[in-house]
């Protein structure tokens, strides 16, 4: 899932300073799951923005709405009338949703979230990065743990000298990806795999190759 975190209120207030009728638009997909931009967070942010604006003598009119998915044009189309009645849109979707809105509507669209990473949930309320979207998945040879997303140096051939006690030298909160990979390989009896040198990565499948696109010819019209 795509994870995100709310931007500081001050930044948002700066964006919407010139406007008074706001459409605050949540997304019921990833950002709901990571507690950043679902209906609940939309409600909280609406209250917070209204109160903060009121403090400076301004009454904001905020329409709260949450789309099933903000990164699809059909869903985004649903809010046409709401957008028409708003001066600006504050989107609580990830960057994809914000852009979908911005591409569709000729109104200012501001992101309420900082889109963080593709991750999974470690436990309730904790998400960590799992995938860098490199476009050429290595997990088959790294015991199912990605060194590109989860090693601070993106090392593809083993732990650096800073790996100690299972954690990364960057911060003790982060496990050493290669430590995890090694444990997995041991568990799977595949430690020999480790001796294979993973050659230099082809970054053009990653963002290094510019904006990427997937076209399924059978589906695409």
């Amino acid at each position: 899932m795509i994870t995100a975190e709310r931007k500081p209120l001050e930044e948002l207030l700066g964006y919407i300073a010139p406007y008074s009728r706001i459409l605050l638009l949540g997304c019921n997909e990833c950002v709901t799951v990571c507690a950043a931009g679902g209906r609940k967070e939309v409600g909280l942010l609406a209250s917070a923005l209204k109160m903060a604006a009121r403090k400076s003598g301004k009454e904001l009119q905020i329409v709260e709405h949450t789309l099933e998915r903000q990164c699809d044009p059909e869903y985004v189309e649903e809010v046409a009338s709401m957008v028409a009645q708003a001066d600006a849109v504050v989107s609580m979707a990830c960057g994809c949703g914000v852009q979908q809105m911005a591409m569709r509507y000729a109104k200012p669209v501001f992101p309420a979230l900082n889109t963080k990473f593709m991750g999974g949930s470690e436990r309730q309320g904790v998400w960590d990065e799992r995938c860098a979207g490199c476009g050429n998945c290595l997990l088959g040879v790294t015991g199912g743990i990605c060194p590109i997303a989860r090693c601070a140096k993106r090392l593809m051939n083993g732990p650096c000298g800073g790996s100690a006690n299972g954690v990364c030298e960057i911060t003790p909160d982060v496990p050493c990806a290669w430590h995890l990979i090694w444990e997995r390989l041991e568990e799977l009896g595949q430690t020999e795999d480790y001796l294979e040198i993973i050659p230099a990565k082809d970054w053009k499948t990653a963002q290094g190759g510019g904006p990427r696109k997937i076209i399924r010819e059978d589906l695409a019209e």
């Binding site: 709901t32 507690a35 679902g38 609940k40």
Partner: protein, 1011 residues
């Protein structure tokens, strides 16, 4: 099947007396699906309590919490209630009594009478007279709204039968009615007809007969009462002026003090006087001086000591330890004089008062005495029935039980406990009768129609002196969508609900706001009450204007009124946003869990098992018997060890009882009728299912660090002392001086309550010592000697035998010092005015009991039950529900509730069993719509609810479209709402507490109310 079946008849239980005790007994039986006939010679039920203004220790009336359930359409038709009815003859024996009942004519057709009052206005002399002050009450009914709600004609006084008949607009008056005589088959009989009150007319020195301003405590209560002769104004009967100084004189008609008085203590009068004094200052005028002349302030009940402290400290009630000898009104004076002496000074004191209240005790009711004699029940000389020393509700005649003040003077909680205990024993003698299958009201579309709100203000005037209920009703009418609003000062009366129901139907009301006391009391009651008129139980909201406005802001009427309005507005907003919901029915588990294998637990288990319930009895230690194993005899001479042996034998051999010793409670889940509890049996985990739970975990003998206890071999507790007397009589024979010190480790800062049983235990031990060694000098150093009830007689006996009782004050406690072979006890004799030193062979400390706090806390945590401040289990309602707990299906008995003597523990055990049977009698269980539900269209299947739920209820399930969404099983959901609060998609709502309900309440709450 049980052997007991043989004993069971197809008959009913006859309950004689429709006071609180009789009602409770009858309701317990009816709820346990036994047929009951409840008779009262009065035209309506309610008994003595209905004449009280307020009752201790809550200082409210609370009748409304029981009376509505006596309504004829409730309790599945098991309850046959008959007013104006007496028992004329009884034949047969246990299991098969034939009773003759005579019902006097009422001359009013109850079905037709609307209580319009026309007959009373035109023929005031014909309306039956109720006891009390004269001229009295605005209506002649005994309490504001009686059950049945109709007048009674006294035909003997009627000169114009035809005119009377004609005056009734609905033709309800039947001048030719005749008495009705019927016979009924009964398996057992409960006598609950109450007691009479002592009449002090013959005591010239108290001036009761001559002085209008000398009244009995019940009369004073009537004066305070809103339904009383002064309409709830406190006025002197002599001149109609408000009094400035009121005195109470205790022990009138009790403790053998006056001519005709019983030798017993009436047990309730001290608390009664404290309550009247507090209410006087609280409700009428805090400037009124209130003085209580007492001998021993007997606040021995649960938390009563705190009540006494509140009276002294918070309300400034003055307590004078003295027995006044005269109440006079010198000629030409309009004030009364009380003549008395105090301990500290021999000279007479004369003090003036405006009113004097005589705290009159109980005495046997002559009618009841006659019935008891007809039944051949053995009686004491004073007419009260003799009961077994281990079974306070069993008379000498099998199948005949007693409860309440008929058994001896007592307060309401004890009456309620005995009533349930009596119903337990009486109910065991009759069979369960099938109950018609309960139909749950369907959620009809009308429920959800456009909101038409009805507001019922149900707070009694006397509970709400700070509130203007009329203005509140007017305000309620002004709230949008409120189609009708009315005050019903009759929450205690089921028939007044007919008017409510009519108003609801007439106005097409589909949502109701009840403005009254806490929803903890009101909600369930009104849900049941309004279901028949189609009000969905979830479309009822309670505005707690009693606890949250009338009471808490009693001193600021303007604020209280404004807040009450706001609370009503909030409730209207809440109910408008509410949704109609349907309950579910599921099969109920009919087994019981009893926690605690002492005498209380075993008794409860045996009573339940005897009525066919399968019982798990769990004991923490390796042995049954509990603290009672340390006891030898009761004060009456009952052999405690024999009792334990008998209970252990019966318990362990009963086919319906499974005993688990060395067992702890590990975890618990579920709800009434469907509990699941995990046990650690000798370390192995075992799970049991049960429908009800009784806690009988006892208490811990206190071992305070005081008076060299544990340091000096001469100093011991009363428990130890008893053992020494029993086991080493030779030692006892050598003793010259014995000193007993009362209230050690009780009634102090660490343990503010009274341990209740220590006074009688020191007297028991004193008598036992004197039996071995009549020459021993025994001193009992006490603060208040609390030998309530018949214990008083043992106290008198001890005095007669030369036991020296010396009062000490808490500021000047005795001292105990080691002095060679002896322990020297130094104390001040107030009457002699000097210090005394006694070289004691033995110092017996009355150390009482403390709650087993640690284990109680652990159990409370597992079961989710509340404890009192001092660590005992808290009952649901200190007065009316003394063995029920806040969590449905949980009951408490014995010392786990508060310290008490064995007989009282066993009574409570039986009461708890009776209450538990009301649960276990149900084959099915209504599951409230108190669960969270998921809007699957909104659900993002994020798992937040799955992870947040403390009970692991939500699951992601795949629907027929293949969509994985959260599903919350309504049967398993506990209704806490955590998932709803955490759901990031706002897809979960908790029934009854939906966001829209909370937010609209908030809207109202934060909107300004136009006062």
């Amino acid at each position: 099947m049980q052997k007991k079946t043989k004993l069971q008849s197809n008959g009913s239980v006859l309950v004689v007396g429709g006071g609180l005790g009789g009602i409770r007994a009858a309701l317990d039986l009816a709820e346990a699906r036994k047929d009951v006939i409840l008779v009262d010679k009065a035209p309506c039920i309610g008994g003595l309590m209905t004449q009280l203004d307020r009752t201790f220790p809550t200082n409210n009336c609370d009748l409304c919490t029981v009376a509505p359930f006596t309504a004829k359409d409730s309790r599945g038709g098991h309850l046959d209630m008959r007013g104006l009815t007496t028992v004329t003859a009884v034949k047969g024996k246990e299991g098969n009594f034939t009773v003759s009942l005579m019902t006097a004519p009422r001359f009013v057709n109850v079905e037709k009478c609307t209580a319009c009052g026309e007959c009373q206005r035109k023929y005031p002399e014909c309306v039956s007279f109720a006891p009390g002050l004269d001229p009295r009450a605005p209506t002649c009914m005994r309490y504001p709204k009686a059950t049945p709600y109709a007048y009674v004609i006294d035909m003997a006084k009627c000169a114009d039968k035809e005119g009377l008949k004609q005056c009734c607009p609905v033709g309800a008056i039947e001048t030719d009615a005749l008495p009705k005589v019927e016979e009924a088959q009964c398996g057992s009989i409960i006598l609950a007809a109450g007691a009479a009150l002592f009449d002090p007319s013959h005591l010239d020195y108290f001036g009761y007969a001559a002085q209008p301003d000398v009244v009995t405590s019940l009369e004073y209560e009537r004066i305070l009462s809103a339904s009383g002769p002064t309409g709830g104004k406190l006025l002197r009967p002599s001149n109609g002026q408000p009094p400035k100084k009121v005195a109470w004189i205790q022990c009138v008609g009790s403790r053998g003090l006056q001519k005709g008085a019983g030798a017993y203590c009436s047990s309730a009068c001290c608390m009664f006087a404290l309550k009247e004094a507090m209410v006087t200052r609280e409700r009428f005028d805090s400037e009124i001086e209130t003085t209580i002349f007492y001998m021993d302030m007997r606040a021995f009940g649960k938390d009563y000591e705190k009540y006494l402290n509140r009276a002294k400290e918070q309300y400034g009630v003055r307590l004078v330890h003295s027995r006044p000898h005269d109440v006079l009104r010198p000629v030409g004076m309009d004030k009364l004089q009380i003549l008395y002496t105090v301990d500290e000074a021999p000279k007479h004191i004369t003090e003036e008062f405006d009113m004097v209240v005589l705290s009159t005790g109980f005495k046997m009711n002559e009618d009841v005495k006659k019935l008891a004699e007809d039944l051949a029940v053995e009686l004491y000389a004073d007419g009260f029935p003799k009961t077994d020393c281990f079974n306070a509700v069993a008379t000498s005649v099998p199948g005949v039980y007693v409860c309440g003040t008929l058994q001896g003077g007592k307060d309401i909680p004890e009456t309620m406990t005995q009533a349930s205990a009596a119903s337990c024993l009486a109910g065991a003698k009759v069979a369960v009768t099938p109950r018609p299958k309960a139909e749950l009201p369907a959620v009809t579309p009308e429920c959800a129609g456009s909101p038409r709100v009805g507001v019922l203000v149900t707070l009694c005037d006397h509970e709400s002196t700070a509130l203007d209920t009329t203005a509140l009703v007017e305000y309620a009418k002004s709230i949008p969508h409120v189609v009708c609003a009315a005050a019903f000062e009759a929450a205690c009366d089921p028939s007044s609900f007919d008017a409510v129901k009519a108003a609801i139907l007439a106005n097409g009301v589909n949502r109701v706001v009840v403005a009254g006391s806490s929803p903890r009391y009101e909600l369930e009651k009104y849900q049941a009450m309004l279901a028949p008129v189609g009000i969905n139980k979830y479309l009822i909201e309670v505005a707690n204007i009693r606890e949250q406005a009338a009471w808490v802001h009693a001193g600021e009427p303007a604020a209280a009124n404004a807040k009450a309005k706001q609370l009503v507005a909030m409730a209207v907003a809440g109910v408008m946003a509410a949704k109609p919901l349907a309950d579910h029915v599921v099969p109920a588990n009919k087994n019981a869990l009893v926690v605690g294998g002492g005498v209380t637990g075993m008794t409860a288990a045996l009573e339940l098992a005897g009525q066919g319930a399968k019982v798990c009895l769990v004991e923490k230690t390796a042995e049954l018997g509990g603290v009672a194993r340390n006891l030898v005899k009761t004060i009456e001479g009952g052999d405690v060890q024999a009792l334990i042996a008998d209970l252990v034998e019966k318990t362990t051999s009963h086919p319906n009882i499974k005993v688990f010793t060395a067992t702890e409670i590990v975890d618990h889940s579920g709800q009434v009728g469907l509990f699941r509890t995990g046990l650690s049996v000798n370390g192995a985990y075992k799970e049991i299912e049960h429908g009800a739970t009784i806690l009988a975990t006892g208490a811990t003998p206190n071992q305070p660090q005081a008076f060299l206890l544990g340091e000096n071999s001469r100093v011991c507790t009363q428990l130890d002392l008893q053992k020494v007397v029993n086991e080493q009589p030779k030692e006892v024979k050598k003793w010259k001086n014995v000193v007993m010190i009362q209230c050690v480790g009780s009634r102090d800062a660490d343990n503010p309550n009274c341990s209740r049983l220590c006074c009688q235990s020191s007297i028991k031990n004193a008598l036992a010592i004197l039996k071995e060694n009549p020459n021993a000098r025994i001193f009992v150093l006490y603060r208040d000697l609390r030998t309530y009830g018949r214990f008083e007689e043992y106290y008198q006996k001890a005095r007669e035998l030369g036991v020296i009782f010396v009062r000490y004050s808490v500021d000047n406690p005795p001292k105990v010092e080691a002095a060679g072979h002896y322990a020297n006890v130094t104390f001040t004799d107030v009457i002699m005015g000097r210090q005394v030193v006694v070289s004691a062979d033995c110092v017996g400390l009355s150390t009482g009991f403390v709650a087993s706090r640690k284990s109680n806390e652990a159990l409370a945590k597992v079961f989710g039950l509340p404890l009192t401040d001092d660590g005992y289990f808290a009952e649901m309602h200190v007065k009316l529900r003394p063995v029920d707990m806040d969590k449905a299906g949980f009951f408490v008995a014995g010392c786990a509730h508060s310290p008490k003597v064995i007989a009282e523990n066993l009574t409570q055990a039986r009461a708890a069993a009776s209450r538990a049977m009301t649960v276990l009698a149900n084959d099915t269980l209504v599951q409230e719509a108190k669960f969270a539900h998921v809007d699957r269209a909104r659900c993002a299947a994020c798992l937040v609810c799955v992870r947040a739920c403390p009970f692991d209820v939500p699951q992601i399930t795949v629907d027929d479209k293949g969509l994985g969404r959260s599903y919350i099983d309504p049967v398993k959901c506990h209704g806490c709402g955590t998932c709803a609060a955490e759901c990031p998609a706002k897809a979960i709502q908790l029934n009854q507490f939906e966001d829209v309900q909370i937010l609209s309440s908030l809207d109202q709450l934060l909107a300004k109310v136009n006062a």
